[in-house]
């Protein structure tokens, strides 16, 4: 059996009105909405496509690091085609940066021994583009970032991937497996979960692991195990945008004037 590990993140988006938390180091949790990271819908879909194309058994394992609330994104992964879902949590993990999270995911990978790890190229909330490649170093595995094409059959010794460079330039990379690839938007068209699949996912087990089961100590995670620490969050100045007010008609009339002035110049 070939396993593909798909690390996923429950990302946070701000409500229209939000406040900075009292200690100044994050947004008030009441002002956040959560969802499965958009990039992870592509990495998960890619894993499911490999499974569907394989003639031998492939198991897609979705894994996340976080408290119980994260079960909802794992259930979304199960509904979209993951075979198993794993969640790692311990209070000591709070405050972890992506490098510490990657260390935890490496523990999961050592346990699961996947042939391939498909991570999102970045997360939609903080966009650090760090976890997947940090994970590859924690495992000492080959890696390719920002992948928009993948030729790999379950059990293959190597994968041919296309990475996407600036300006739409592409480059093929031939990489030895097991490897960690970070998946870019657009590599496939992620499927929607059917109602039936969502119902079935609700009843599937989620395996929960602690640090001890992964052979990690408390000081390897959290702030102590991180490469950076959030000192302060602040609402940025809104730049120079001059807001056009009024009814939709008045706003459009001002916009029309801007266009006419430009065309007359």
């Amino acid at each position: 059996m070939t396993k593909i590990l798909v690390p996923v993140k429950r990302v946070a988006a701000l409500e229209d009105d939000f406040r900075i938390r009292e200690d100044g180091r994050d947004v008030d949790p009441d002002d956040l909405n959560h969802d499965l990271n958009e990039w992870d819908t592509f990495s998960l879909e890619q894993a499911v496509l490999i499974k569907e194309a394989a003639s031998s058994e492939v198991q897609v394992v979705a894994a996340t690091v976080g408290p119980e609330e994260c079960d909802e994104v794992l259930r979304a992964c199960l509904a979209k085609g993951a075979d198993r879902a794993l969640r790692v949590w311990d209070e000591a993990i709070a405050g972890s940066d992506p490098i510490a999270i990657a260390r935890i995911l490496a523990g999961v990978a050592r346990r699961e021994e996947p042939a391939l790890v498909l991570a999102g190229a970045q997360s939609s909330d903080h966009g650090q583009a760090t976890t997947g490649i940090a994970l590859s170093a924690a495992l000492d595995w080959p890696h390719v970032a920002v992948v928009t094409g993948l030729k790999y059959g379950a059990g293959d010794a190597r994968a041919t991937v296309t990475r996407e460079l600036e300006g739409g330039v592409m480059q093929d990379v031939d990489v030895a497996c097991p490897a960690v690839l970070t998946i870019q938007l657009g590599i496939n068209k992620p499927r929607y979960a059917s109602l039936r699949a969502i119902k079935q996912a609700a009843g599937k087990p989620i395996e929960v692991l602690g640090l001890g089961e992964l052979g990690l100590a408390g000081d390897q995670v959290g702030e102590a195990g991180s490469a950076s620490r959030v000192r302060r969050m602040a609402i940025p100045e809104r730049g120079r945008a001059q807001m056009i007010e009024g009814t939709a008609q008045q706003k459009a009339a001002r916009l029309a004037q801007i266009i006419r002035e430009f065309r007359a110049a």
Binding site: A13, L14, D16, I20, V27, L32, I99, R103, D125, G127, Q128, A129, T130, G132, I133, A137, P142, V144, A145, V146, R163, L165, G167, G168, V169, M170, Q171, D172, D174, V175, A176, A179, T182, L185, A227, S228, R229, V230, R232, M233, A234, I235, P236, R238, G239, R240, A241, Q242, M243, I244, A248, K251, A252, A253, R254, L255, A256, I258, I259, R263
Partner: protein, 322 residues
Amino acid sequence: MTMSGILILAEHRDGELRPVTFEAIAAAQEVRAEIGDRVTVAVVGSQAEAFVPALSIAGVDQILTIASKQQEFDADTAEAALAAAMSDCQPALILLGHSVDSMGYAAAFATRHGTGFATDVFRLAFDGGQLVATRGGYGQKVNVELDFPGKRTVVLCLRTGTFKPDPKPGKPPVRSLAPALPESRARFGAFIAPEASGDVDVSAVDFVLSIGRGVGEEDNIEQFRELATKVGATLGCSRPIADSGWLPKSRQVGQSGKTAVNCKLYIAMGISGAIQHLAGMKHVDTVVAVNTDSNASIFSVAKYGIIGDMFEIADELRKQFE
């Protein structure tokens, strides 16, 4: 040994240094006084010395050329070469670009060497003797200030197009390093230029009306194409629209698409303003953003902002041109 000074690993592709290398040199000048006053630029390749003339600018105190088997980027080679340069000059700060190449090895380097690490940094400062790096959070809606307690060396990947280079000639000494570099576990092939689609090229035009995710579905594209024609603009788009195949890649504005280099008026409708999109249009003189979300980061680069529904504004705008 106390770490001091700044190390920059130059980024190059297809025989050209990437602009972010000069941006990193500019960023280094902002903090060099606090961090130990020496800026080293290392460059890796089979013909690394070819970049010495271009890197010989004021503000660079030393150039290190590192010989590798191949000229172009390779993640394992870049990581090992950066390790050799770090061990040579013991820097307190390493500056890279937040580019696709750096995304391919910088986090691996930081993990392996236990350095401080942050990406997409757009501001560097010192506070009470501590390095503070600022980046965006929650879809660029807040600024996140990071520090790096206990780290002897900090690696920062800088947001591209942020620090302004002002290169003046200089004559820094050049040294060569010949570290034993590992056999790469990946083979990086030739560069493939984007296909010419025969459709318009948004980098060539001066007026772009661009649509993003707010457009909702493919059937809604046509009315914006008609609106663009009506007002004399070329229809552009953000990544999700091109990824969905609703418009060709040649109309996509942003880091992985086109930069709207000739654009003077850019109307962004239903585009929230991911940094990758902003990279392709934030330089435009007049940006007008239309978005329902008053916190959308597109408003931070716009000259004029309209909070409202893109369909409603489009309908009214159409009437203005009838």
